[in-house]
Point group: D2
Chain length 329, copies 4
Amino acid sequence: MPEISIGVAGATGYAGQELIRLAARHPAATVTCAMASASTDGNRRLPALTRIWNGEVEPLSVDRLAAECQAVFMTLPDAVAAEVGPALTERGVRVFDLAGTFRLRDRSLRLRWYPATPDLDEPAVYGLTEYYRDELQTARLVACPGCYPTGALLALRPLTDAGLLEGDIIIDAKSGISGAGKKPSERTHFSENHGSVAAYSVLGHRHGAEIEQELDRPVTFTPHLVPLDRGILETIYVRTRPGLSAAAIAEAFDAAYRDAPFVRVDGDVLPEIKHVVHTNFCDIGWRWDQASRRLVLVACLDNLVKGAAGQALQNLNVAFGLDETTGLS
Amino acid sequence: MPEISIGVAGATGYAGQELIRLAARHPAATVTCAMASASTDGNRRLPALTRIWNGEVEPLSVDRLAAECQAVFMTLPDAVAAEVGPALTERGVRVFDLAGTFRLRDRSLRLRWYPATPDLDEPAVYGLTEYYRDELQTARLVACPGCYPTGALLALRPLTDAGLLEGDIIIDAKSGISGAGKKPSERTHFSENHGSVAAYSVLGHRHGAEIEQELDRPVTFTPHLVPLDRGILETIYVRTRPGLSAAAIAEAFDAAYRDAPFVRVDGDVLPEIKHVVHTNFCDIGWRWDQASRRLVLVACLDNLVKGAAGQALQNLNVAFGLDETTGLS
Amino acid sequence: MPEISIGVAGATGYAGQELIRLAARHPAATVTCAMASASTDGNRRLPALTRIWNGEVEPLSVDRLAAECQAVFMTLPDAVAAEVGPALTERGVRVFDLAGTFRLRDRSLRLRWYPATPDLDEPAVYGLTEYYRDELQTARLVACPGCYPTGALLALRPLTDAGLLEGDIIIDAKSGISGAGKKPSERTHFSENHGSVAAYSVLGHRHGAEIEQELDRPVTFTPHLVPLDRGILETIYVRTRPGLSAAAIAEAFDAAYRDAPFVRVDGDVLPEIKHVVHTNFCDIGWRWDQASRRLVLVACLDNLVKGAAGQALQNLNVAFGLDETTGLS
Amino acid sequence: MPEISIGVAGATGYAGQELIRLAARHPAATVTCAMASASTDGNRRLPALTRIWNGEVEPLSVDRLAAECQAVFMTLPDAVAAEVGPALTERGVRVFDLAGTFRLRDRSLRLRWYPATPDLDEPAVYGLTEYYRDELQTARLVACPGCYPTGALLALRPLTDAGLLEGDIIIDAKSGISGAGKKPSERTHFSENHGSVAAYSVLGHRHGAEIEQELDRPVTFTPHLVPLDRGILETIYVRTRPGLSAAAIAEAFDAAYRDAPFVRVDGDVLPEIKHVVHTNFCDIGWRWDQASRRLVLVACLDNLVKGAAGQALQNLNVAFGLDETTGLS
C-alpha cells in the first residue's frame, strides 16, 4: 500500500495522542508531522508513547503541514481551527477536524455555539462514517462528530430514518473525564470526581444542536461526568409510533448496520462501557415496552476512539479508498 | 432523654452496618440486639465498626427482638421479612423495614414484585418522612422507601402535588455499587464495574412501581451502576404545564421543604454526589427552558444514609416524638 | 462548656473545609472566623458545607483573627504561615499550624525543606497528640504533623522507644489524591490518576526529614499516589533485634496505646483504608517472621482527619483541657 | 507465515480472555480450541470479545487439545494443570502454563506452595522471556512467571547478575484487582476496594518463593490491592555495594535490555501504570542516593499482558522461531 503522510495538529491532548497511537499501527499511514496547538509552543516528547511513536511534537506550522502532509487531523482550539482548516484545504490538504468548529451547517447556530466559526465556500462533510461514506470519498474538509453525537446518532438514525418514532427524544449521557480534556481545572480534579457524578450544561450543551441538525428534530440532551477515564454510555428515551412490532425495530437496526464493521447491535444484552474501551466499536442495545410504546436505547463507545481518533481514521480510510477497518481492528 | 432500645435484624449488610454506625451516635437510642439474617448464622463481629460499636452480631431470634427492643429495623430477605415483620408488630414492637416487602399497597403489584409478600391487617406507613410525618407518629409498621424512590419522589412530589406537570416522567438514575448489596457476584465484582457504566432492569425495576404508587401516575425508570461506592444521582425529565414561570417552580419547592431539615433545594447550583455522601441530605437542583417547557431535575443522596439507614432513623425520631434531626446532623 | 472561638486561616482547601465540617459539630468550639489564604481574596461560600456551616470565607486578616479568636488553625502557604503564625502567638492567640513551616526543629533542615521558615523565640510543639500531651497543654504554637509522618510515627514510636528495632527503616506510603491539595494540576487531573499508581519525590520528600526528626534515626520514605480520594496506607519494613518474641511487640503497642482513644492496634487483622476514612482513627497491624526477624507494619488513616483536621482538633482539645475525643467520635 | 494452531485451556478467566483477544490479532497463530476449566462446563460465548473472536468456549478435553493444537496455554486450577500439562507434553504439544504449578524447581517448595504439584521427568523452563530465550526454543513445558515476579525480576536481575547489590531486598507491590481473579468474593467486591488499599499475604505469598528462586537470595515481598483494574507497580528497596557510581547502574540495565523490545528503562522519569496498561511493556525507573547507597527501583506492567497473556505469547514467539514482538506491538 502506498503510505499516506498525515499530520496531527494538536498532538498533546488526549485525542491527539490517541490519534498518534492508532496511526502508529496503521499499515498505510505515517505520521509525518505532529504539532502543538500554537506556533509558540516548544518541542516536546510524549512519554506515554515511548517506543510506540518516538517523534517529537513541534510548534504549529501551517506551511509545513501543507508541504509535508496529504491529510491533517486537527484537535485545536476553535479560533485556531477556524484559520488553519481553510488554509490547508486551499492548499490541497484533506482536513479531518476533531473539534467542533465546522460541524454545524447553519451559520447562526455555528456562531452561537462556536463563535470563532469561519465562513466556508464549501460546507464540511459531517464525518459520521456510517452515514456519509459517499460524501467522504471526495471531501476536502471533514467535520468529525462530537463524542456524544456519535453514540446518540448511531442509535437513533436507523429509527428516525425509518420513521418509527414519535414524540420527545431524551438523551441522558454519562461520560468519562477524559472527555473534559487534558487541561487541569477544578472540574477535572481527581478529588472532585472520585466517588461522584455531576450533570453539566443541562439544557445548554452544544452537542445538542449537533444532534438536532443530524436528526432534524429537537432533542433534550444532558451530559454527566462519571468517575472513569474513557468511555461514554448514553441512555436514550423515545416512543415508537403506534402499531409497531419488536421485529420492526430489530429490522431497522439490521438494515442500517448489517455491513457496518464498527456498530454492534444486540437486542438481548445491554452494552457496557468496559466492552468498548480501546476499540472503535459503538455498541447499541434496546428494550421496548409494547403497551406504552416506550423504547429505551443504550449506546456505548470509547470517546477517544470511536468518539474521536478512531472515527477520524475510519474517515481517512474511506476518504482515501482504503478498507474502512484498516488499522482499527 | 429516655433511651429507645432498638434491634437491627440483618446487621451484616451495608445498610445494616450503616444503621449501627449511625445508631451508635444517636443520643436517645441504644442498639440492644444486632442480628444476622438467619437463625442459623453464627455470632460474628463487625471489624469495620471497631471502637464505634463493639457488640456481636447474633443469630436471628424473633423472641429476643420482641423481648428486648421497642423498635426493630429490618434489612432482611423478602421472605424472612414477610414473617418477622408481622410477628414483631403483633407483639407491640414498632418495625421499620428497609427492604421492600411492605412498600406496595396494591396486593397484586406486591405479589408481582415481592412474591413473598404477606397479607397485612393494616397497611404499612410509607416512610418518606417529609410526606408522612403524621402517619409515622402512630405507625406500627413503617415501609422505608427504596433508595431510588427517595430521591425521585422528593424531587417530583412538590411539582405533582401542585399540579405543575404534564406528560411523561422519565427518571434516569445512577447508583454506586453498594446499592447492589454486599453479596459477591459477577455484577458486584470490582473489575466488572471499574471504568464502566451499565444500565440494568431497564423497563422492569420494582422501584418504578413504588414511584408510580406515590405519584399516582406512570413513570419510565432506568437504573444504572456507576463506578463509585455510595451515592445516587437521578436526572429527571418532565414538562411543565403551559403558562408557568420559574418562580412557580421555585415556590413549589420552597413550600414543600422550607421546614424540611434534610432536603436542600438550590435553583442555581446543580447537586453532585460528593456533597451528600455520609450525610442524610437529599440535594435537589433544576433547569427549566421556558420555550419548550422542558424541566430537568437533578436529585442526589447517599443510598445508605438518606436512601436507607438515615431515613429509617429519621422515621424513628418522628415515630417516637423526637426532633427529626436527632443523631443525624 | 464555655465556647472556644476558633479561626480557620486557609478555609477553602481540603483540610480547611474538613476543619470547618468537624468544628461545626464540636460542642465546645465555634468557628468565629473562616478566612482565605490571602487578604486580597474576595468573600465566598462553601457549597459543600451548605446547612453544615453557612458562613462565608472572608479575606485573610490577622487583626481580626487576633481580635476574635482564642485559637487559630492555619492551612496556609509556607511564606504566609511564617508571618501569620508568630504574629498571632504574639498577641496571645494559640496557633495550630497544619502546613509544615514549623515542624522541623533543626534550622538548617527547616531552611532546606521550608525555605520561608521564620526564626522562632520558642520552638513549636510537635502536635502528634499521643506523644506530646503534656507539652500541648501550654503550647502557644503547635506544628501539627504531616499526614505521612502521623501514620509512620504512630506505628514506629512504640518500637523505637522500647528499643526493639535494629537496622534500616523503610516506609512505603500510598496516599489518596486529596493529599496533593486542591489546586488543579496535571498531577491532580482525574485522567492521570484513574487506573494508575505513581511514586513521587523518591528519596527526597520533606516528610522523610520530619519522620527522622521524631525517630532520631534515618529512614527511607517513598510516597505514592493511588487512585482514591481520602486515605493513606503505609507499609513499614523493619527488623527486630535478636531474641525478641511476638509478645514483646504486642506489649510495646499495648503500653503505648492502651489509653489512646484514636489508635487501634490489631495483631491479627491488617488495617484497610476503608475502615478509617471519615474517622480520626489510626489503625495499625503487623506481621512478624521470627526466623528472619523481619517485621512488617501497616498503618492507615484518613489524611484529612487524623492526618490533618481531626488531629488538629484533638490537639485543641488537649490544649484547652477538654476530653481528647470531644467532637471527634 | 504458517499458522500455529493454539489452544486456550481456561478461557473464561481474565488472563484467558486476554490471551484470546491478543491471539486474535496474532498474524501467525489461530485459536483452534478455547476451553473451560472443567470437562463438565457447558459451552458459552464471551460477550466481551464479540467481533474480535466469535468462537465458543467448550468443555475441557485433553484429547481434543492434543489432536488439534500445536501449542496450549493453560490458566487452570493447580490440580487440573498438574494433570493436563504433562498429558499434553507427552503427546507432543508444547505447553505454556500461566498458573503456578510448574514454576518452582525445588520439589519441597513446590509442594508447600502448590500442593497439587506433579513430579516431572523434565523441569519446566521458567518463561521470563528476557532471561530464558535459549531454553525456550526447545522447551516442551514453559512455566510463565507470575505477574509480581515478572516486574520484580526484570528490575532486579540486571543488578544481581552484575553483583551490584548487597543486603536486604524489599519488594512492595501494588496490584489492580483483576490480579485477584474473576471469581466473585468479598475480596473482589467493588465496595470493599473502592476508595481503599489493603496489604495481603504479608510475609507469606507464594510469589516471594518464585522471586527468591530466580534471584537465589531471600527477599521480603508484600503485595497490596489498589483500586484499579489492570496493572502492577512494584517499588523495590535495595542497597548497592560500596564504591559504585550511577553510571554502573545505568550500564547494567543497558547491557541487559538494550535489545529487549518490551523492557523500557528510564533513569529520569519514573514509570506509572497508565503508560503500560494494554501493552506488553515492563517499564523500569530508579533513584539512587550515593551517600547511603540506597537504591529505589520502580517497575510497572499490565498484569494481564506482560504479567500473563502477553508474556506467554512472547514465549510462544520465541519457542516457534518467530520474531519476539509478533502480534504484540
